[in-house]
Symmetry: C2
Subunit: 324 residues, 2 copies
Amino acid sequence: MIKANISGIGTALGENITNAKIEKDFNLKSGIIEKTTKLQTRYFFKQDEDLEPHILKAINQALQVAKLNLNDISCIICASAINRVAIPYNAAYIHKILNANPIIQTFDINMTCLSMLRAFDIGARLLDIHKHILLVSIDIASLGLDWEKVHTAGIFGDGISAMIISQSETGGIVFSDFQTHSCGYDLCQIKAGGYLYPPQHTKDYQKLGFFEMKGKELFKLTMQVLPKFITQSLKKAKININEISYIIPHQASFSSLAHATKMLKINPEKIINIFQNHGNQIASSIPFALKELFNKNVLKSKDKIMLIGTSAGLGLGLIIWEKP
Amino acid sequence: MIKANISGIGTALGENITNAKIEKDFNLKSGIIEKTTKLQTRYFFKQDEDLEPHILKAINQALQVAKLNLNDISCIICASAINRVAIPYNAAYIHKILNANPIIQTFDINMTCLSMLRAFDIGARLLDIHKHILLVSIDIASLGLDWEKVHTAGIFGDGISAMIISQSETGGIVFSDFQTHSCGYDLCQIKAGGYLYPPQHTKDYQKLGFFEMKGKELFKLTMQVLPKFITQSLKKAKININEISYIIPHQASFSSLAHATKMLKINPEKIINIFQNHGNQIASSIPFALKELFNKNVLKSKDKIMLIGTSAGLGLGLIIWEKP
């Protein structure tokens, strides 16, 4: 397999929104959000905001970091958890706003919060025919939050991310694995958006657009399966946890981050944690955290980074990537 | 790259629905559907019908044809154009109803009508780590049809399809290419289903669930780009059209099938056409047509099959597959 570099990451955020503002807007008890979720602040796009300039900003930033032009890209994968519209697929929209050449291939990959991780794994396999692939996640959690359920709504933030993966001589994905624990299928859902509840034939459609989560059951299942999955993956990869320089977890929640770290006896300094000021940005979480690490300028060639996470489904995913 | 066999296809259909029945139900002029679309009959699932037994039927049929058990499958890709719900992703649902082992990986690929073609191409690249991959498309067009627009609604049919791709010693994908002509992004759409029109914040949401198509513009663009794409692909693949034994087109519409064939001077007997009694089954069209070909028992080893089509986007896709 061709080796994959992550040659550029770009991001775009909406407005910084404090807990105090939300608590005021939704008549919530002062301090309840941080108390319930440990989240201090997050960024939300405005409702009805045109996202096009933000998407282009993230993509152009990624191209700039990678020192590439759009002409160098021959495949665009949209890896958002949520579609823009039901038809056409998302990547065609990204292609359109970029006014891109028709020879640029496009398609979507979806694994909810792990969409970007899965797209990185799939994209890396396509580097035999593409020199550079653009991955994009546009995840606007704020549109589906029910503030009557603070423990669920309070953990999310919006984020648009673009990541360019490129052919490399060295480094690349040294191990990846994914699992599906669909016994947890009902624990996280947005019921609207598909054929199960077609808008034309569904009463009270409005409330089906809210994200629903059975937090306690989800946390329990995650703690049952995630640490084991990580341990088994490291064993299969024949890599000791001490050989991993940094860990980029999906920023699902503060408590799951904290618990998983503890269970695996991982040095907390190795873990990139942006949860408290970004929240769970769905599929954009991992690229945002990875950009945070890149910006620290601490990475050396041959450093091994572990990208891990969970998604609604319940899906699990892990990639060990070696910096070229 | 590992060579890919298509080791089994399974399908499931709803009730056979004649034009006469639709014309009666929707107060349409008798004969108008066939006159407008050339479609004679199609299959629709009942509104609110539980699709689970139908999905399982298609998957079990595919497993039976491939002489495999679910335990032989290590990856499930859902390649539907339309989601079941917004969260979780579709393949987690398929995993759940199969009560599948957690080590089975799952994710979705979406390229609207070309989802199955794109999933075949991607899936083939994953056969280095998976012996057998299950691809599933659940596309229920009937839920989004506006019968006030007969020329659009009249061309669709429902279909569930399952296709198993397997490691092979011989044959496999000899060429594939995809293009994106996003100047046609607005020509086919269902506006509901995503972040652009969140149900909580959108008035008159109901009507956004209908499929809309600018048929004439779409036909014009398709005829501008599709024949050229096919000609260029054959040239790149260094394969003469006479070396292709059969052509499986996406069953987009009768007129586009007829015109493309004529423009490329293809012997119509080589083309599998099930449009008149199935309609456009979205991403399930290609698997249904391919199964029709398989069931004729005419295929010989080394026969080259060309799978081609268009999708909303406008996307183009082509795979030349050699039978092992």
